[in-house]
């Protein structure tokens, strides 16, 4: 059973009054991550919104030891820290339980510039959690397209809408044979919490991707962060799943969509709520563009349904 909201721990690792935008999904998610990891952890940040949010020297908005690192290096930097603390513990220079090492990167630092080092860390199965808070664009630099931007979305570098679908990063990480991979989103905090707890208690490399609807990048109203997250899941545009030692399980409500018990909500409503799509869905080609986006979603649902059947 998913942990209920009332059972989530009190501990707050994200401190009030940080530099994040109002309604920020990244800090929303990081609060839940903090409840699952607790204070005994080391955080790595690649350039992203959460670096802008964390406060300027000498103030820090997160209650962990944190290190800002070069953009391409989430995987390799986390490996460096995890090996350092393990050998220092072996040599008797560190006391107590080993901290959890986790990198906190956006979709740019994960799908694009961070991909090579992340892939290598996964192949080595180094002991840390990589979180991708995915807002489907380079939001911190003013919303440019990334490998996570879905087809049809406006960004400042895809002014007429992105021509290509996003890639399935979580599945790519799974194909590295790492022990734990999960997807989550801010509307389902208990689901996210449970997944982080599992990752924390699993040795080796873990990957958790959190869909993070950004009102500035996606162009919806600031209070609607959680609603957009929920609509993404209900339309099947975002699937909640986890894979323990390679075995994929879908989580509610995505499991009902995958099993066919529930039809995904038509994507139109989800798209028209977001200026990044709706501004381009006005002309005579609107119908075919929506069909194209719906086609991408249907393909992913069908593919993941079949992929989950492969076990070993």
């Amino acid at each position: 059973m998913t942990t209920s909201i009332k059972k989530l721990p009190d501990i707050e690792q994200v401190l009030s009054g940080n530099g994040a935008c109002g309604g920020c999904p990244a800090t929303m998610a990081l609060r839940i991550v903090g409840k699952a990891l607790g204070p005994n952890a080391i955080m790595l940040l690649t350039p992203a919104c959460s670096v802008a949010s964390m406060g300027m020297t000498p103030k820090l908005g997160y209650n962990w030891p944190c290190i800002n690192i070069c953009f391409a290096t989430a995987g390799s930097s986390a490996s460096g820290i995890t090996h350092a603390i393990e050998i220092m513990k072996e040599k008797g220079r560190l006391q107590g339980d080993l901290p959890t090492v986790f990198s906190w990167a956006g979709d740019g630092g994960t799908y694009d510039i961070g991909f090579q080092a992340l892939s290598a860390a996964a192949e080595r199965n180094d002991n840390f959690i990589h979180f991708c808070y995915n807002n489907e664009a380079y939001s911190n630099t003013g919303v440019q397209r990334s490998g996570a931007t879905p087809r049809g979305s406006y960004t400042t570098t895809t002014p007429t809408g992105k021509r290509h679908p996003k890639k399935n990063m979580a599945l790519l990480m799974l194909e590295h044979n790492i022990p734990y991979v999960a997807t989550a989103t801010v509307a389902y905090p208990g689901d996210l919490y449970d997944k982080v707890v599992k990752a924390k208690n699993t040795p080796g490399m873990k990957y958790i991707e959190i869909l993070s609807p950004c009102y500035l990048g996606w162009q919806f109203d600031m209070p609607e962060t959680v609603q957009m997250s929920r609509m993404a899941v209900k339309s099947g545009a975002w699937l909640l799943w986890e894979a323990e030692n390679g075995k994929i399980t879908f989580n509610n409500p995505s499991s009902q969509i995958i099993s066919g018990k529930k039809e995904p909500a038509p994507v139109d409503e989800y798209l028209m709520k977001q200026g990044r799509f709706s501004r381009l869905l006005k002309g005579p080609d609107a119908e075919s563009r929506i069909a194209e986006i719906q086609g991408d979603i249907n393909r992913e649902i069908a593919f993941m349904r079949e992929r989950a059947k492969i076990t070993y």
Partner: protein, 85 residues
């Protein structure tokens, strides 16, 4: 030669208000009607800023940015967004 200390490194320390008194960003303030509240804690869990106390549902207005997520997620409409003076 000066002795090298941690001041030679760009180090920061955890503190509330790392972005300043972010309550000043608000255009609207969330106001809780505690009589309607069912203590479901949705507002607490979804608050990006950790400014809502989960038992008494009090809000730290020094840092609340007024995003309105709590008001929209409240299932019983116990939180309203009121225009700041």
């Amino acid at each position: 030669m000066k002795s090298v200390t941690k001041e030679h490194r760009p180090i920061s320390w955890p503190t509330k208000g790392s972005g300043g008194d972010t309550g000043s960003w608000r255009t609207h303030r969330p106001v809780v009607d505690i009589k309607k509240c069912t203590k479901c804690q949705f507002c607490w869990v979804y608050c990006p800023e950790a400014v809502i106390e989960r038992e008494e549902i009090t809000i730290d207005y020094q840092y609340c940015k007024g995003c309105g997520v709590c008001a929209l997620e409240c299932p019983v409409g116990a939180i309203s967004m009121e225009k700041e003076e």
